[in-house]
């Protein structure tokens, strides 16, 4: 009876999680959906706490207080611009929790003298491998995003693919060995350790602007690790929740890859961004064609225009410019200008990164348009203002078949009457290539830090009036 009630509670929790994702289909219902998910989690936790096998609650309580406290501090203090780092950490912790739970269950079986069935051993090996890989891979991703290591650029060494492949093969071999000799706990430990090394090696060869893919992929792994742990424990709520998260990560990974016109294999092993085109290549594109302007000149350009599209990129996040951008948009709107925002799917360091920043600055979400919705508007746009975006507005993607970003769908800002690019210098974006947009006749460059630039433009527009 008690077991049936617990399982019923788990079922209700699983349904609530599905409804959470369903509610996320619209900003209006999303906040309520998230609270529904939290309620489902509470229900599952209470159900788990009624288990009669629990002999002591002190350790559980201690873990919940420490973890809950840390989680709350992280969640309440993180800046919106640092959301990719936060998600990277949470991906990792999810992976870690799965390894630990799977490992503990496995040790328990062995300690109690049970002979674990092959299914449980395979699931334990899977949760150990994926979980270990996710935890350590996520830590590298986090460090890359914070630019603690490698300055955000990928690190490649000869034979990297071979080493990664060999590691993966070794892990599979160890898993098979474990099935035949489950009592050899050392095999399991080595398996998890190799998974960890694989996580570090495979993530460090991916950098900067490819981070959105890494984050999505690790998110998916953290879900799959939880599902594998569900197979170890024979627990359906773990399996359902884990596969939901796994599916979410896979879908986002696909969206990101498509938005860069690259295969997942190319992102994982291509090492794009490891090389930067030298000064000579840049001079050929820019020499004598780049027009640098002041904020006063920009104010004159903006005088009397009707339609403006603002395109934010990672640079807006770095310079925390979102509130200044909002002020500029409002100032222009007060003068009767129609202002829209255009967001490329891979702008920023994770999917939706720019949308969150714009929402943080109270910009209504119906003015923020996706690539497919905003691209037809550029033909009728008077001024496109690019703030800290580079590769996603590089027309070479359309014109140069040999470019590393050839075929990548871009925001067609070059089709607007005037393009204003706010950027600190002509330094290349993550793809490491020059951007012919900066040398176009209708492009004006404003060399400055994103936030300062926008503030100066606001001042100049006010003065001109």
């Amino acid at each position: 009876m008690r077991a049936a009630l617990v399982n019923l509670a788990y079922l209700v929790a699983a349904v609530l999680f599905i409804l959470t994702f369903k509610g996320l289909s619209h900003p209006r219902t999303a906040a309520r959906a998230n609270r529904m998910g939290a309620f489902g989690m509470l229900l599952a936790i209470v159900a788990a706490l009624t288990d009669q096998g629990i002999v002591d609650f002190k350790i559980i309580l201690a873990g919940m207080l420490v973890g809950g406290g840390l989680g709350a501090v992280l969640a309440l203090r993180v800046r919106m611009t640092a959301m990719p780092q936060m998600v990277a950490l949470l991906n990792g912790f999810g992976g870690a929790a799965s390894v630990l739970v799977g490992g503990a269950a496995f040790v328990e079986l062995l300690t109690l003298g049970h002979d674990p069935p092959a299914r449980v051993v395979v699931a334990t090996a899977a949760s150990g491998l994926i979980g270990g890989l996710t935890f350590f891979g996520s830590l590298v991703a986090w460090a890359q995003l914070e630019e603690f290591v490698f300055r955000g650029r990928p690190v490649l060494f000869p034979g990297q693919k071979l080493v990664n492949g060999a590691l993966l093969a070794a892990c599979v071999a160890l898993a098979v060995w474990l099935v035949f000799q489950p009592e050899a706990l050392a095999i399991y430990a080595v398996l998890v350790a190799l998974g960890a090394v694989l996580g570090v090696l495979s993530v460090m060869s991916i950098g900067g602007a490819d981070m959105p893919v890494v984050i999505c992929l690790l998110n998916s792994y953290s879900g799959l690790a939880a599902a594998a742990t569900g197979f170890v424990l024979d627990n359906t709520v773990l399996i359902i929740s884990g596969s939901l998260v796994g599916a979410a990560g896979i879908i986002l990974t696909r969206v990101m890859c498509k938005a860069m016109n690259r295969s997942l294999a190319n992102v994982l092993f291509g090492g794009v961004g490891a090389e930067v085109v030298g000064q000579a290549g840049a001079d050929a594109v820019y020499a004598g064609k780049v027009k640098a302007v002041s904020s006063e000149e920009i104010a004159m350009v903006l005088d009397g225009v009707q339609r403006v599209v603002i395109v934010p990129g990672y640079g807006m996040a770095v310079s925390q410019a979102q509130h200044a951008v909002r002020d500029l948009a409002q100032l222009l709107e007060q003068r009767g200008v129609e202002v829209r925002f255009g967001v490329h799917p891979v702008a920023g360091r994770m999917p939706g990164h720019m949308n969150v920043l714009l929402a943080d600055a109270d910009i209504p979400y119906d003015k923020v348009l996706e690539m497919d919705a905003v691209n037809p508007l550029f033909e009728q746009t008077d001024v496109a203002i690019i703030i800290g975006a580079n590769d996603v507005v590089n027309p070479a993607a359309r014109t140069d078949a040999h470019s590393p970003i050839a075929g990548m769908p871009i925001l067609d800002v070059d089709r607007s009457k005037t393009v204003i690019v706010i950027k600190r210098s002509l330094s290349p974006g993550f793809a490491g290539i020059p951007n012919p947009l900066f040398a176009l006749d209708n492009t004006l460059m404003f060399f400055s830090d994103g936030r300062n630039a926008v503030l100066e433009i606001i001042g100049a527009v006010k003065q001109a009036a």
């Binding site: 906040a31 503990a104 197979f231 596969s243």
Partner: protein
């Protein structure tokens, strides 16, 4: 073997449900969806509670304590930060 197939069925069907529901999430909400899914992957807390509470051996208690801690960071941190973001999305 019957239970293995049953549990595999649940896994496969849940994946399909996931794909159906999640393809409808608009790009605007992709960041909160990711952090929300972090919170939901914290469901491993259920297994962590048992590992920490059953106290089979010292090793399982240590593993269980760490598991409860990590899972709880995800649960509390994930839902809270998602709520923070979603409350910002409004229409004027």
């Amino acid at each position: 073997m019957g239970s293995s197939i049953l549990i595999l069925t649940v896994f496969v069907l849940a994946m399909f449900v996931g794909f159906e529901v999640i393809t409808k999430v608009p790009p605007t909400l992709h960041t909160p969806m990711t952090s929300g899914s972090n919170a939901i992957s914290g469901i491993t807390i259920v297994g962590a509670i048992l590992a920490a509470g059953q106290q089979v051996s010292r090793l399982t208690v240590v593993l269980g304590f760490l598991a409860v801690t990590f899972a709880m960071i995800n649960v509390v941190g994930g839902f809270l930060v998602t709520d923070r973001m979603l409350r910002m999305f409004k229409r004027k």
